[in-house]
Amino acid sequence: MAELLQLPFMQRALLAGLVLGLLLSQLGIFVTLRRMAFFSDGIAHAALAGAAIGLLTRRDPLHTALIFSALLAAVIFILEKKSRLPIDSIIGILFTSSMALGVVLISLRQGYQPELIGYLFGNILAIRVADLVLIVLLGAAILAFLFSRRRKLTLLALDCEMAALAGVNPDRYELLLYVMLACALVLGIRVLGIVLVSAILIIPVSTARLFSRSFRALSRWTVLIAEFTVLAGIFLSYYLDLPTGAVIVLTGSALFSLAFITSLLLRRS
């Protein structure tokens, strides 16, 4: 174990995993409260087009995916306010269109593309120093906003009118939440991949909700469960020689199942 922790790629993987576990799990509290799971999944899948633009133009796919997804989140917000279409229809249209665009753009590149598999399913052990710096800086900025505006974001999620009368600008906060969520999801793609990233948003908070008796307890348990899931997943995947993203998600699912069965048994007794 000590030797493993000396390895630079493992140090980067663990630090990135811990930052993303904290970031995505805290955002997950608002995602589940506002029922935005489909938005999260849609944005993550749509990021394929952003990554494809990077691969095609020989720019960093993480950067292009960040810009593309943030813009897409803003477009979803505007369409939600301006059109009469339900939000899930808007997300469904934009998510499938973006994925289709990504597939078309990727097909324009010749030959085998190993990066694509990394973006689809994540590769935490291939995180570069530049990726880590971006994850830590952007993650810290989003977390600072979340922690400093925690009460306002919660009130907004509970009742928009009460929040407006408490001095919250609902449109500004919602737009910021959408864009920050999109950015956090793209950062998470490096670890879990497009297909699996929303799991770390949803599973830890859903597990914590099964036994939390206050918002404070929910926040703390969500972080603990997310960090344990990420660390256990990384080590298990290393020793079992299995894909890291998938093992992290399966670890989270196993914890959820355990908590769910325990809560059912406790309720019966």
């Binding site: 009460r151 009130l155 509970l158 009742d159 009118e161 408490a166």
Partner: protein, 253 residues
């Protein structure tokens, strides 16, 4: 003394449908003001326009100022609070949501004021309808508002609970000088607890002191023949009847 609330020529339209038209009135001093009218008459819309929650034409001033300048002095209890009841949020945490420093604000004081202090550790999703309305009232009182808006705050609460709720409102008004503007369908409660009344049916049908304004003729104008409320039967007596809402005339009743 500056009027508490001035509404001048207020009109609200939603996608071409008129919800309120040319409504004007002024409340000169602290009072309990009831807004009544049939479904679709614009009661909730009036409240939301005053609170800046819907776009409107006309002018609204609270304490002779625009709403934005007096927002901290305004409390609001919504008609419905559609939250996820399984979300783990305690009463105390909910009340604290509008505080930057909860320890500096009288969270326990406002809960005690509405008789809910013993429920502070309970989850809001586990409260009864009446208890939830009291918690929403406590939330609205946290910043010591000078004016409180209630949008059918007792709908879905039993008669006894309504009486308790309105008694609390009356005490806030009499002891703390809080002006209360409440939308209500419960004419008996309005008759017994409000000082002034605003009768709406998209435009202003009548307004003034409750006992003199709430006549059988005004009620017939509002509710048609559905109303059999007899004001004289209800003075300081337990409520026995509420006007049945007339046909729906539009949105945002």
């Amino acid at each position: 003394m500056a009027p508490v609330l001035e509404v001048k020529d207020l009109s609200v339209r939603f996608a071409g449908i008129t919800a309120l038209e040319h409504v004007s009135f002024a409340i000169e001093k602290e009072a309990i003001i009831a807004v009544i009218g049939p479904n679709g008459s614009g009661k909730t819309t009036l409240l939301k326009a005053i609170l800046g929650l819907v776009p409107y034409e006309g002018e609204v001033r609270l304490f002779s100022r625009p709403l934005r300048q007096v927002l901290p002095q305004v409390g609001y209890v919504p008609q419905r609070f559609a939250f996820d009841p399984t979300f783990p949020l305690t009463v105390e945490e909910f009340i604290s949501l509008t505080c930057r420093s909860p320890e500096r604000l009288p969270v326990h004081g406002v809960l005690a004021e509405v008789g809910m202090n013993e429920f502070k550790g309970k989850l809001i999703g586990e409260l009864s309808g009446g208890q939830l309305q009291r918690v929403l009232l406590a939330h609205a009182l946290l910043h010591r508002p000078r004016i409180l808006f209630l949008d059918e705050a007792t709908s879905g609460i039993d008669i006894e609970g309504q009486g308790d709720f309105y008694s609390t409102i009356q005490r806030l008004n009499r002891e703390h000088g809080v002006t209360v503007m409440m939308v209500s369908h419960e004419i008996s409660m309005v008759y017994n607890y409000s000082d002034r009344i605003i009768c709406l049916n998209r435009d202003l049908v009548s307004h003034g002191e409750t006992r003199s304004t709430l006549t059988a003729e005004v009620l017939r104008k509002l509710y048609g023949e559905n109303s059999s409320f007899q004001p004289h039967d209800h003075a300081a007596a337990p409520p026995r009847f509420d006007a049945a809402p007339a046909g729906n005339k539009g949105h945002h009743g």
